[in-house]
Amino acid sequence: MSTQSATPNKAEKAKSFFKSPARVTILIAIVFLVVSLVENITSAVDISSPGTSGATLRFAIPLLMAGLGGLWAERAGVINIGLEGMMIVGTWTAAWFGYLHGPWVGLLAAAIFGLLSGLFHAILTVKIGIDQAVSGLAINLIAAGAARYLSGIFFPAVGGDRTISPPVETLPTFTVPVLAPFFQGIDEKNIFLISNVSGLIYGLLTDLSVVTVGLLLFVPLTSWILWRSKFGLRMRFSGENPMAAESLGINVYMTRYIAISVSGMLASLGGAYLALVASSVYREGQTAGRGFIGLATVIFGNWRPGGVFAGSVLFGFTDALRVRQSDSVMAMIMAAGIVAGLLSLYYVLSRKWKPAAVSGGIALFALWMNLRVTNIPQEFITAFPNLATLIVLTFLAQRLTPPAMAGMPYRRGSE
């Protein structure tokens, strides 16, 4: 019996292990091939230019941090809609303390105040037990109001404005030696595909902020904590089944306190990145809904650190294209349409009619967009992450594996 049930399980595991990374690699390769093709045809150089990949990283980091913040909270069983507010906390404290004592202190201050804002959410939702969404929304409101109130008091006196802080010193950046020039050389040779790839890598390796590298480390770190550490196990247990966790002696309240505080810290660091690295000031409305997109990356990434990373890179990429050159977006839509068309063909050949119809529909839509629309308004591209998330939720909701008890109220000793 045991061997019978174990064998297919094992085989399945091996299969899915081999299948998924290989599939992903092939898909990325196809996407890239199409991108470079489209680029050559439409001469929209920006899609894979070094500038775009650098900008993608800059746009992705805040989303990534918000997403990781959301992941930490939801894995422990609490939805954090206050990510946006916690990012605002990060932008403001980073700019103010950065102005007073230098950018490193600003970063540290953002981490501390972010931790405190997370703790606030934890006390409200875990200890007092109010609705998690209400608490998060109230934090968004209070953070936005407090930032504007404090800006109005502090910034005009020191050379800023009611809505803008005085400029903060920038943090050091570096270009990776040897590798960066190497890829730059290939990029300039203009070889089809190879130059595109190296241009992208070159863009990633130039003028890299130290903070970017530091914050990127939170992805493997989160991954390690979640899947390899004792605390991560407790955290996931608290998110999946707090009652059972409690019965096994896990302190669910304490676990959640820690996880949500870290969640606040990560989101706030994302905000600090906006104020210190992506620009050098605090500006009102700087976060621009990024906390909510972070929430989206959590779903998009199926509650996994790597997935959150992939989601934020994708959303950061669209953001980067939007800012840099809107022609590129049309080329991108065309590329996406071609990929969808190929995918549809693949599904037709393997006789999977429903996904074939869906991807075929997307391909036709992209084609229509290219023929019908000459230029898409900025807002439409801004909403791409939201649309993508909604589509994922619509078609893949059954395949997503969110923490079972995320968002549910839990009181110790009650059902």
């Binding site: 409101l141 109001g145 504007r148 109130y149 008091i153 929430l295």
Partner: protein, 363 residues
Amino acid sequence: MTKNRIFWAVAAPVAAILNSLLFIYIILKIRGVDPLSMFSLMISYGFDPRNLVSELNQTIAYYLAGVAAAIGFKMLLFNIGIDGQYRMGAFFGAVVGGAVALPPVLHVLLIVITAMIAGGLWAAIAGYLKVRRGVNEVISNIMLNFIAAAVISYLLLPSMLGTLPEGSQTAQTFPIPASGQMPTIKAFDGEIYSFLFVAIFVGIAYWVMLNKTVFGFNLKATGLSFRAARASGVNAPRMIFVTTVLSGAIAGLVGIGTLLSDTHKYSMAFPAGYAFTGLALALLGRNHPVGIFFAAFLWSFLERSAPVLEFEGVPPEIVIVMQGTIVLSIVIAYEVVARINLRQQQRAVGSVSAEAQPIKESN
């Protein structure tokens, strides 16, 4: 027992407001201004007749947003999509109103119905996703709010449904002709939107629907216990869907007062952020039509009287902080009261069963 409940129903919001007043008092004290004179300044400015009129007009919009949220809350639905639904309603109401020529009353009616349908349909997406796909309505609605903003800004392009008048920077819909406009009531040198009556009607209809109809009973039952309602023959998933659409239809009306009596066209200048306001007001007003009205008035009163603080060197955004703390205080108060009630009930049940025990033994 009921007296006790009414007491708590009023006491909790009042306590919450006092609590946040205390909080703001401390903040103002830190700022180095006299809090009490600030408060009296706000009150005298806010109750100035001219400001009262604009507050009342704003109250209409807030009230409808509050009722929309309350309908959702009765079903334990967190309709944070009011923002998108209201935009859709106002936008399509404006588009249809600007495109047709009808006799006066009919024209207004068409706009109102269009707005309700547009808001309801937009909410239906979230409703469908919840019922059929098991998607949490909070997440889907947040996404839908952003998408609604994008869709409208796209449709507002002059090449689509909008227009860019000579010398104007912002795209807008074609203006609604006089037959599709609603009169205003002259009062205190101001003009009150007659849409006020629609808002009052919505409030009454909401109360009647909830308390006097089978639908309302089923709605409340489903909200209290999905499984129990289902067991007693209520089609609970359908109830959830219908309630979502209904909430969205009311949300579609939020911007209509301004549209019909003031701007007569939709532009990107229409304010955002009604979603959280609506939810906050429903919480503060305990989902009761009268309670929501007072909450809505308090909200617009705070917002309209805040700018006066500017002259005293206090950034008026302090009011946003105050609104946030009111909401937090109120939900905390409810939570604490609910827990006290639960403990009392447990004690009551405990004492009853303690008395019952010996009788059982003697038998």
